[in-house]
Subunit: 187 residues, 2 copies
Amino acid sequence: MKEIDLRIVKTKGALQEALLSMLKDKPLHMISVTAICREAKINRGTFYMHYGKVEDLFEEYFKEIMKDLTDSYMEPYKHVQILLSNELDPSTIRIFHHVEKYKKFYRIIFSKYVPMAYYYLLFDQVNQLLNQDIDEKHHAENKNMFSAYQANAILGMIIEWHREDFQKTATEMNNLFVEILNFHFRK
Amino acid sequence: MKEIDLRIVKTKGALQEALLSMLKDKPLHMISVTAICREAKINRGTFYMHYGKVEDLFEEYFKEIMKDLTDSYMEPYKHVQILLSNELDPSTIRIFHHVEKYKKFYRIIFSKYVPMAYYYLLFDQVNQLLNQDIDEKHHAENKNMFSAYQANAILGMIIEWHREDFQKTATEMNNLFVEILNFHFRK
DNA sequence: AATTTTATTGAACATGTGTATAATAAAATT
DNA sequence: AATTTTATTATACACATGTTCAATAAAATT
């Protein structure tokens, strides 16, 4: 038996394409299911067969970006060693470059009217990436709290970066991050 | 001339009360304008005269809670001195106790389907509170980035706390926060 | 207390949501 | 190639949204 029905692939593709196309003109929260289906030439009932709301459709695109984030991050970060050795090379942190690359996407993620769900997905991803490194440092009970602290601190920088409309370069953000970490160590 | 029309006060009060009452039964994103107006015995058109959507009505309640946060925080935090002196007394940090006090409220704020807007309001508040203390430590250009890092780190802990359904006590959270800061210093 | 101002109401309208149904058509299976 | 399976469509429904407008009633002003 076939794994996936070609009709489903076609339908989902058309809806994805329609949404991404419409996002060039309108913010996510102003795009209706009806409008997407009109654009994609897909029956509205079919939309609800695969998704519950516009955000669910967008979430599929979201997850693709998260893959790139993981790939970007996994390069040579080795977080703990860097954190502890105090020999942090800014160029080894790729997360800011990833955000810069998908600037347009992150403008959506960080917009006011978007549900928290996306932020949590992003948070989870960064959290997970950090968690791989922290293992030995903290007791199991506090591990989650510590990585939540660390992960969201970085996201805080990205929120601020976004608010400044990404004026700084990714490299500058890297340097700032190092500076902030060093500030913590030095004192 | 009168500053405020009594009719407006009455209407807004009725809508507030209706929303808060309904929040006991349903999550925010499942409450419709129509239902609130039905409950409050207020014409739907009148709602739209004062608010654009359910979230705007909720935001008024939100801002009241933010006042309490400021009051809680402003007690004896004096963040920089604590951060630098390494003589942090956990009992001086009141933010976790504030969250614990308004647990029910923060369950709404941190729920998946709520817009990012509330998170940003919270972020701004914490940010502002931190900013008062940091002044001298960083150059003006990096100040925002540093406090965004710090503020969101704390929010990260609260997110994790919320996810664990507030199992830990506020005092435990305080201690953990100190532990994490100390970890930064010690290494 | 009479008059002016304006918030509220009720009604209507075009549009969107979410769900359900039978008819159709496209893909998978034999 | 014929048959079976199932995704898609067209249509309809009850309900919500967001806006508009004249009529009303409540508050403020004189």
